[in-house]
């Protein structure tokens, strides 16, 4: 078990080398030859070093809040980062980047999803709705109005995700009681702890929607 000794710390000074945050498996995979002769190519990408930034970008068309956006993106750009960094729709938040908090919740074809765990390129042809598209112009969606009235937030950072979850919940099979709402809203962490107000807001929105 020499390797184990190597990778872990022991008493005193040891001479060790780390590929910072990159495992031994990584390099092999990077160096592996790509597959040839791919068929069934509805969408296919390959590195295009022609781009001035040197990025391996491909054209991606995203339909967000009813509007079509033609973007040049690397396939590794997540839906969340595309919304924020490319479309500047900053209403959708990054809280963990790993599907562990719900701040990035958006609707894809009417269903709530974590936009951080999906690549933008996977959503060509999908209808993406963000908080910016939830309300009808200046008129607030019932969920937004209820969150405002019930103070369903403090810092406001998880709020877009909470409301996108709440808006989706209106159409989901969620029980009527508060406990059911709590469970259906448990994929959205609020570190400020506005949960009691969030439950009240969701219940009000359900009555009014």
């Amino acid at each position: 078990m020499k390797k184990k000794e190597d990778a872990l710390d022991t008493d005193g000074l040891t001479r060790r080398s780390f590929l910072s945050k990159l495992g031994a498996t990584g390099i092999a995979a990077t160096a592996a030859p790509l597959l040839a002769g791919v068929v069934d190519a509805q969408v296919e990408t390959s590195p295009s070093p022609a781009k001035p930034t040197g990025a391996h970008v491909v054209p991606v068309t995203l339909r967000v809040n009813g509007q079509e956006h033609r973007l040049q993106l690397e396939p590794r750009v997540t839906l969340l980062d595309a919304l924020r960094e490319n479309l500047h729709l900053f209403g959708t938040k990054k809280g963990c980047d790993h599907g562990q908090c719900g701040a990035c919740t958006v609707h894809v074809n009417g269903r709530r999803v974590n936009s951080c765990l999906s690549f933008a390129i996977m959503h060509e042809g999908d209808e993406v709705t963000t908080i910016e598209g939830l309300s009808n112009g200046e008129e607030l969606h019932p969920v937004q109005a209820a969150f405002l009235e019930h103070d369903g937030f403090q810092c406001g950072y998880c709020t877009s995700g909470q409301m996108m979850s709440a808006a989706a919940l209106l159409k989901e099979p969620c029980g009527e009681d508060d406990d059911s709402v709590r469970e259906c809203m448990s994929g959205n962490i609020c570190r400020c702890g506005a949960y009691p107000n969030i439950v009240a807001a969701v219940q009000q929105a359900r009555k009014r929607a």
Binding site: V38, V39, G102
Partner: protein, 326 residues
């Protein structure tokens, strides 16, 4: 995250043809994208299978279900037949992750969820699963969440899926399409114990695609239940869980199926517990005895010894609930 090639497939044949050792299929993405961000998984190509027509839940001629690999966890959980006839599956699904993640995660993908072991997820550590032969940092590390059943000296990582635990009890069969054609593998034979090769988690060959899962009909009057224990009340992986199915004939149990989650290196079917319960009266004594049998081989570590007793109690309670239900 490294760059990769991306390709979208619209039919199963094309997808399978695109698969291979350096490609990954991407469905919901809830495991893969997470691990790609951590540089733990580094596919050179992603084959997007979200457009494959594998999203149906259908009745099989024998009264069971055929569940397409692309059926989302939320759709499967709320399917009327599943809710009515296979509540253990619905309960397991709804106890996992969050509503958003369940909208993304698929039936096929969930079976292939990767472990939540901290050391697997961090490339600065030795991990035989991620980097074969590098060692297991979890063994002497913080191992509260780790497995007590099916472990080896090379790996103690748990399989994190709730759904797979229920499917294990339901005796699901995994249907696979690969370069050599189609095959069906009972879920009980699908997963591999870590042994000396923890990097091999199941019987899939490179390029194999799960197309659907079938579950047989349960016998008339069978009852089932899934119980999950964890620290917080929701949105957390199991520390211990139990999926049970049984018929109560008179006072006695038959057709008992038991699977445990959160404690095994794979979704843990306990045939020993099933045998211990078969024909026994439905009472606490039988349940407790079965629980003892189920955990007999447990190998607790520094931080997870409590899981032995927790898993027993979880199983006992699941059996009580299942047999109490009208």
């Amino acid at each position: 995250m490294q760059t990769f090639h991306y390709k979208k497939s619209t039919n199963v044949e094309g997808a399978v043809a695109s698969g291979g050792p350096h490609a990954s299929f991407i469905a919901g993405g809830t495991t893969l994208v997470d691990l790609m961000k951590l540089n733990v998984m580094r596919p050179a190509m992603l084959v997007d299978i979200n457009a494959l027509p594998l999203d149906k839940i259908e009745r099989t001629p024998d009264g069971g279900l055929r569940i397409g690999a692309m059926v989302r966890n939320s759709d499967l959980a709320h399917d009327a037949t599943v809710e009515k006839e296979f509540p253990v599956l619905s309960q397991a699904l709804l106890s996992g992750a969050s509503p958003q993640l369940r909208n993304m995660a698929t039936t096929g993908g969930n079976l292939l969820q990767r472990t939540r072991c901290y050391y697997f997820r961090d490339t600065a550590y030795a991990c035989n699963k991620r980097a074969p032969g590098s060692g297991c940092a979890a063994m002497d590390g913080y191992n509260r969440i780790h497995a007590i059943l099916g472990t080896s000296e090379h790996c103690i990582a748990t399989h994190p899926s709730d759904m797979a635990v229920a499917m294990m009890a339901l005796e699901a069969v995994v249907h696979i399409r690969g370069a050599k054609g189609e095959r069906a593998v009972p879920l009980n034979e699908f997963y591999r114990l870590p042994g000396n090769t923890p990097q091999i988690e199941n019987v899939l060959e490179p390029g194999d695609l799960i197309t659907h899962v079938t579950i047989p009909a349960l016998p008339e009057g069978a009852r089932s239940h899934y119980l999950k224990r964890r620290d917080r009340a929701s949105y957390e992986f199991a520390l211990a869980s139990a999926a049970v199915i049984t018929q109560v004939q008179g006072r006695n149990l038959q057709h008992v199926r038991v699977a445990l989650g959160g404690v095994g290196t794979m979704p843990w079917r306990s045939k020993e517990a099933e045998q211990a319960l078969d024909g026994k009266p439905a009472n606490e004594e039988s349940f407790r005895e079965a629980a003892e049998v189920a955990l007999r081989g447990a190998k607790p570590l520094h931080d997870n010894a409590f899981k032995v007793e927790l898993a027993k109690r979880t199983l006992v309670r699941a059996l009580k609930v299942a047999t109490q239900a009208a």
